[in-house]
Symmetry: D2
Subunit: 342 residues, 4 copies
């Protein structure tokens, strides 16, 4: 019953198999190999567009390198106060951007709206005394498991572009959001105005593989220098590329996400029916946020369930986060619900 | 006939197998897992000492994070002008240290001596106008394939410590050097005075796994914050740890290095006998540096041999670098020598 | 009627005279001169303690250099959301600290309390995923003109020290606060637990002179390297030191602050009696924050009064900031009140 | 007999007088005042061109901010190994550029030539493994007191531009070089291809005033943000601007430089005639570099002469640097020569 995080689980067998498959013989290093090219071709197909694609090994690196490319050292990045870049990356974006300012905004469901940015903007329009508005960064699916619609994304992109900013999307759970929406990857990104994407694969089946995608390849600028300078250019790159290549083959990424989403839905539906329990957010991806009675929380933990308290207990209830991965056993869900019900 | 680099080859089958072996089920993420602990235990045994061990995925990250831990932003790092940190890492150490100064020194066989540092030191003893002498960094085996003896290392360590500095060793090819010397890992490092080590595994069989080792664990300071802040804390860490674990099991690391060294020796011996060819450096690890006649170079390239020119052609000869990996086919060596001889 | 800022006014004649006085002949450069030593001696007397003193030319440099000395690149600095370091310095602290996180807190009168920091702290106690709590920074007098009592400072200092943090005070208007409290400089700083102080002189009579003061000289560490490396070591330092020397002579700093505070009091008292106007904060230093009817604001501006709107107009009133300097003419105050009354 | 540095002397009386003159009354802060505008107008006239001008207080800040504007974090800056940015600024350029690489080159008279850069360039044309060639930086007059001719500058500028780089000039002693050449300021800068200039005034009469000049104003980019973010935007800017304004008025800058150069010439001519002494460099600005017999050096120091040894004593002679300022007494020169002659 491990619902602590989707990164608590291992790797997809098809991705592991790909590693062995590409290992034989010599190949060009540092991303000049054929498999890295194949990944770029797959991405172009998925996004229906020529895009610039750069594999990296962590989401923090993907986000930080993307932001450093879009934002000058004296820039401001508007993000949600609960976003991963704001609170879970040890101020990595500040390091990679050389001191940019992350402006923490608020909004229900961990979502930003044009209004939330507009409200903060005047404080950054006073010349050099404040950082220069440069980027809006959103997470899809969000840190509360909710999903922006293409229209919501487009509204933010328009606001960003109208104000001389760019739109970055942290897609650590990109596939989960896409499966939920049922739209195309293009619709959820560049057609809605997204400029740069951190495309996640690790949480949904890879060992350590993400990619930064720029929809206008020129916007990538000197990205490759930044990646190398931060120690994120892998010498035997084929092993990172192979993970992405397998992930994008045969719809593996969508299949895995669909399974995780469905199981999360089952878990959420089950919780909604528990006496004293309430869902805190609609279940739109692979995470369930729910208020559970403290006695239920204690009983679950005693039975071995692993999950995070998202907020301290209050009034006899605790807000918990339950994350389901592509490979979480169905039995973990049923066992969790049974234990909760007792 | 690929002698371009040891990172042109794939991964050791035993290491690939370990990835599959550790993938099942849930585990703590971010390095709190059992396999990461096992790596630490293996390192303690190898070094005969309790050490602080931090897995990362690239040598550039290992070197830069180690240096940033040892050197303040206003510090000076003395290194050889041909060292990897000086010329092959896109000034990554300058980024991670927040602007420290790398002082490029000279010395035969890409080696530093206490005298080479002593000659440069007065320029850095003028108070705040120059960077503060903080670290001496050496590469073992060096970028020219030569190997420091424990005595040479101890002399540098003593000089560093006498002058308020610390000694860092870039061990991208640590195993190759160790096998050549035939001494213990302890003798080649902390017993000789090394403070921090970048322990390489990628070039000798891993997919993407290195480790930073501090021999006085307290010296690691806030290393873990720096690793996270630079995007180098892998969420599914067990997959990096598993590579190191397999690498250090059953003497795999030493066996692989011994094979590469021996094959390089065969290649070097063969070249030394070629008419018009000369070894530029003694073959002490898995690289051969030789002056070859330009016609021979052209003939080899035409036959498909891959290797780097280390210096531009001069007087009809070119200095070339030939690197042999743990898995370079023996036939590549014999074929190279045959082609060269024609 | 210029109430825009205390930096809108020029320099004190006694300070200007000092510049000419010290200009003759040759002297050691980079702070090795006698006048710089005299400043250190005066500071030791004022603070009743041996302190480390470093003159710089701007408050932003003073704050940023102090914070970079106290806080590692991966540290968190807790400050008020309206503080100068948070919103008026273009993220300079983030640059000098190499990417530390400024955590914006709230509290009435632009003041922090131990509780406000305690509420935020749990989010930073999750290991390397969040920045490491390192510094609490307060402003004395605050950006809303209010003044912390020594007891309030001591409570924050105790909380900081109990949690492994240090307390920094931005004293851009240090003299104004001190005159208000009527206590000793020691009582307001190190006796209450302040670790480092940005001591302001520019707003209260100097041309461009501030000083960073560490109450435990060892805590200054490599401050001098940081100052040089950021271009803030003035070659003809005697001209900065001379400003501070004259400022601290004959109680000039206290006399100037007392005059500004008294005039601000007169202005505040006058405003409190105006129909439709309300003071937003008690007048405790040299700034007046008041809600004025929009018609009154318009009339004042038309008559040439200069001041900033602190918040956009709402419900027919605007929150304005009026700053009085050591040399603002009394007539400016009386004329302002007369115009407001009409 | 103080020949230690031109920054050992005070300020020009006309510049001191200007400070008092501009101090009265209120003025816009942060460079929005009339005097700052006047400086820009004077610069445009001197350079016969609309230029972007930004006052700062130190040469290190001027150089570092100019370089950070011209060079990305992953860029390489080619400079002479004896240049101020290379060895006298505590790696400040590395800090402001966020980790760029300063490549130390050699050349007689502390001068670079296109060939010296061309020889180093191939090492930086290997993609992301090395820093990206971005800037050539020269010093005028050089650290050895020599002066580039406009033709020499043009050759470097052409080489820079042909290779995608820009040319920066550190003009800490700009006036001294200009007076020596007798050409126009335009001829010595943008007409020869200089892109950005650190224009020095402090060494030649100001208290603390330099200016960064971009000859194509658009190239300044976000300079103002960088200046603010590094704490170098002075709030009462009129006091820095007034120094530059007076410096550029009535040919004060040229008169001062001419006097210093002439006196240095007298000193150099006198030394050339001393038995056992030799000039190490032609005297082209306000510095004299000479090999003096060690006994003479000892005798001069005993008599109170202050100057720096530029190299350690060798073969009975020491290379010394003697710098003459705009206000060094003539008597100091005659006394020095008399003492040397005894």
């Amino acid at each position: 019953m491990n619902f602590a995080s989707d990164n608590a689980y291992g790797a997809d067998p098809q991705i592991l198999a790909a590693l062995t498959r590409v290992s034989d013989g010599a190949a060009a290093s540092y991303g000049e190999d054929e498999i890295t090219k194949s990944v770029a071709a797959r991405m172009a197909k998925i996004f229906e567009k020529n895009v610039a694609v750069f594999p990296v090994v962590t989401g923090t690196a993907a986000n930080s390198l993307a932001l450093a490319t879009l934002c000058p050292p004296h820039g401001a990045i508007f993000c949600h106060g609960e976003s991963h870049i704001a609170v879970d990356e040890c101020a990595a974006p500040e390091f990679f951007t050389h001191g940019a300012k992350l402006v923490h905004l608020h909004g229900g469901g961990a979502k930003l709206s044009p209004q939330s940015v507009a409200d903060a903007l005047p404080g950054f329009m006073r010349g050099v005394h404040s950082a220069k508005p440069s980027v809006i960064s959103i997470t899809q699916a969000t840190e509360l498991g909710t999903v922006y619609t293409p229209d919501e994304i487009a509204a933010l992109a328009n606001f960003a572009h109208d104000n001389g900013m760019r739109l970055h999307m942290d897609g650590a759970r990109f596939a989960n959001a896409l499966v939920h929406l049922g739209c195309s990857a293009a619709d959820m990104t560049w057609k809605a105005g997204v400029d740069a994407l951190s495309f996640g694969a690790t949480k949904n089946g890879a060992l350590c593989a993400e990619a930064v995608v720029f929809f206008a390849p020129k916007m990538a600028g000197d990205f490759e220098y930044r990646r190398k300078k931060s120690g994120h250019l892998i010498s035997k790159m084929r092993f990172i590329a192979a993970q992405l290549d397998a992930y994008l083959s045969d719809d593996l990424w969508l299949t895995n996400a669909a399974r995780a989403n469905a199981l999360a839905k089952t878990l959420g539906d089950g919780i909604a029916k528990l006496a004293g329990a309430t869902l805190a957010q609609p279940v739109q991806s692979n995470a369930v946020f729910a208020y559970l009675p403290d006695a239920m929380v204690a009983r679950l933990r005693k039975a071995g369930a692993q999950f995070y308290d998202w907020e301290p207990a209050r009034n006899g209830h605790t807000l918990v986060r339950l994350v389901v991965s592509f490979v979480t056993p169905e039995r973990a869900v049923s066992q969790f619900l049974e234990t909760a019900r007792q």
